[in-house]
């Protein structure tokens, strides 16, 4: 239903401890943000893409589709850097240094985006969420987050089907109809969500629910070797980029 989520469960990296993927993607993310954009961002992007389409087995089409919206934001945002306003050259003028800044930001942000996407495409949330208590979040909050994750798909499915039903009855043929349809859809979803919560309450009570949603979390081993292997590429990228800077 959600392409990133579905791909994460099929990822060859699914069995890796989330911390390992966190170190790998997080380390590269730091590289993208902290190193000089050239060649730091370019190197980071290259490493991420190689990892994604190589060992992590990310489906390229889904990856590209997911990247589309945030890339659009990055490009739109960067465009504003090409001009300056209110200067001596008139209300709006080309900024001679603008393209450089824009390119730098585009590169940096795109590389960072790729790191985030790789993490999302290889880490199923079902395996990440129960571990959030380990980093000190209150267990009630973690249970709510996990519930939201589960109910999200039920609600999304409902929304999709109601939307299809509305479309079949010509509910999206004009703007007015569209607004009416989305409004009806939103209201129905709210009612359905509350009803769902009540029914789930009943259903879980039969299974002994008294307020705690404790479940068995399978422990994944965190191996030192994997941690080191995950930390190596970011360190390598950092030292290469910094070395490149020194040599220049």
């Amino acid at each position: 239903m959600l392409a990133i989520d579905a791909a994460a469960y099929r990822s060859p990296w699914r069995r890796l401890h989330p911390a390992v993927k966190g170190i790998f993607c997080g380390g590269l993310l730091v590289c993208a943000l902290a190193l000089p954009a050239w060649p730091g961002a370019a190197l980071t992007a290259a490493v991420v893409l190689a990892a994604a389409f190589g060992p992590a087995g990310v489906p390229p089409r889904a990856f590209a589709r997911a990247a589309w919206v945030p890339l659009g934001f990055i490009l739109t945002g960067a465009v504003t850097l090409l001009v300056s306003v209110g200067g001596p050259d008139g209300a709006v003028a080309w900024d001679p240094d603008g393209w450089q800044r824009a390119a730098e930001i585009c590169g940096r942000a795109s590389a960072a985006l790729l790191c985030q996407l790789l993490f999302a495409f290889s880490t199923p949330l079902a395996e990440l969420l129960p571990r959030l208590t380990r980093i000190g979040l209150p267990s009630a909050l973690v249970e709510i987050i996990a519930l939201i994750y589960r109910m999200l798909f039920v609600t999304l499915d409902t929304a999709r089907r109601i939307g299809l039903g509305q479309a079949g009855r010509l509910g999206y043929t004009s703007r007015r109809a569209w607004i009416r349809s989305v409004g009806a859809l939103g209201a129905t979803l709210f009612i359905r969500s509350y009803d769902r919560a009540r029914r789930m309450q009943r259903g879980l009570e039969c299974r002994g629910y008294t307020g705690d949603l404790r479940v068995l979390v399978e422990s994944l081993p965190l191996r030192a070797g994997q941690v080191l292997a995950a930390a190596a590429p970011p360190l390598l990228v950092a030292s290469t980029a910094l070395g490149y800077g020194v040599l220049l």
Binding site: A6, A7, R10, P59, R61, T158, R161, I162, L164, G165, Q166, A167, G168, R169, L170, G171, T173, S174, A177, A184, L185, A187, T188, I191, R192
Partner: protein
């Protein structure tokens, strides 16, 4: 693949040729490929198959709720274009009713919900009002007109959704498992209503798991299990246990009992198979 059946002579009102559809690349290939299907004017076509066989997918393709990845859908002989205009035209003639009524009920009251389609067709208030009254009448739920939808029983909700589709006066009504979740009395009264629509000229396409129901009600049957297994007149298709087994369906009672009764000379050779247990009782004279 069985070639399209050509014994009947009613023209095809809706047809698909060489349809292909798959949900995503990761799945084991498309749900079906190069599927030919024909819906004839004023017939009842039953679509049968196991869970995941592709019934819902086919119905959605025929009603414009999914675009085929290859192949064409034709309405009255004209190819359907998958753009806004084309879809709008298709949806004026072909209405799909989902299995779960809650997927299509989204207004606060029955009248409001039934008026949704006609309003979107651009009718004026008077005409909409008429359509709504007529559709509620046709489904026998005029008494529910002012009820809030969330207080209705399952069977009542199914009827309201049907009224919402019928109010758009489609020439083809496609129903995804219309009898699922209804008790036998509910099934009977729904069938009666649908018979009424059909005799008023509506063509019906119905998906179901219930072989016995299809056997007694449909004109033609189409067996689907990720690909066409067979299509033709009901006695031919649903009387064939090996075909049904291939579609992972259990055989129908009617033909089995019919054979037994004929063997026992309780049923003359040319007579049709009994369609219900009541008919068996009648035949044996109780």
């Amino acid at each position: 693949m069985t070639p399209p059946d050509t014994t009947g002579n009613a023209p095809a009102v809706l047809s698909g040729s060489r349809l292909r559809f798959g949900y995503d690349a990761a799945e084991a290939g498309p749900v079906f490929d190069a599927l030919d299907v024909e819906v004839r004017r004023e017939e009842v076509l039953a679509v049968l198959g196991p869970n995941g066989g592709g019934k819902t997918t086919l119905l959605r393709l025929l009603s414009g709720s999914l675009a085929p990845q290859a192949g064409t859908v034709r309405l009255d002989g004209a190819e359907v274009r998958w753009n806004r205009r084309g879809l709008e035209e298709l949806r004026r003639s072909v209405q799909l009713v989902f299995q779960d009524p809650d997927d299509q009920l989204f207004s606060a009251s029955v009248t409001q919900d039934v008026s949704f389609g006609p309003l979107n067709q651009g009718l004026d208030t008077g005409a909409v009002r008429e359509r709504v009254a007529w559709a509620l009448e046709a489904l026998g739920i005029t008494a529910l007109a002012d009820q809030p939808t969330h207080l209705l029983s399952y069977g009542q909700r199914k009827r309201v959704v049907l009224a919402g589709a019928v109010a758009m006066r489609p020439s083809v009504l496609i129903l995804d498992e219309p009898t699922a979740g209804l008790d036998p009395a509910g099934v009977e009264s729904l069938l009666e209503t649908l018979e009424g629509l059909r005799s008023a000229g509506t063509t019906l396409v119905v998906s179901t798991h219930d072989v016995d129901l299809a056997y007694r009600w449909a004109d033609r049957a189409l067996l689907l299990d990720r690909g066409l297994l067979g299509v033709g007149p009901v006695p031919e298709i649903l009387g064939d246990p090996s075909l049904l087994a291939a579609a992972r369906l259990r055989p129908a009672w009617g033909p089995a009992v019919g054979r037994a009764l004929r063997k026992a000379a309780l049923l003359p050779d040319g007579a049709p198979d009994p369609a219900t247990p009541e008919e068996v009782a009648e035949i044996t004279g109780e």
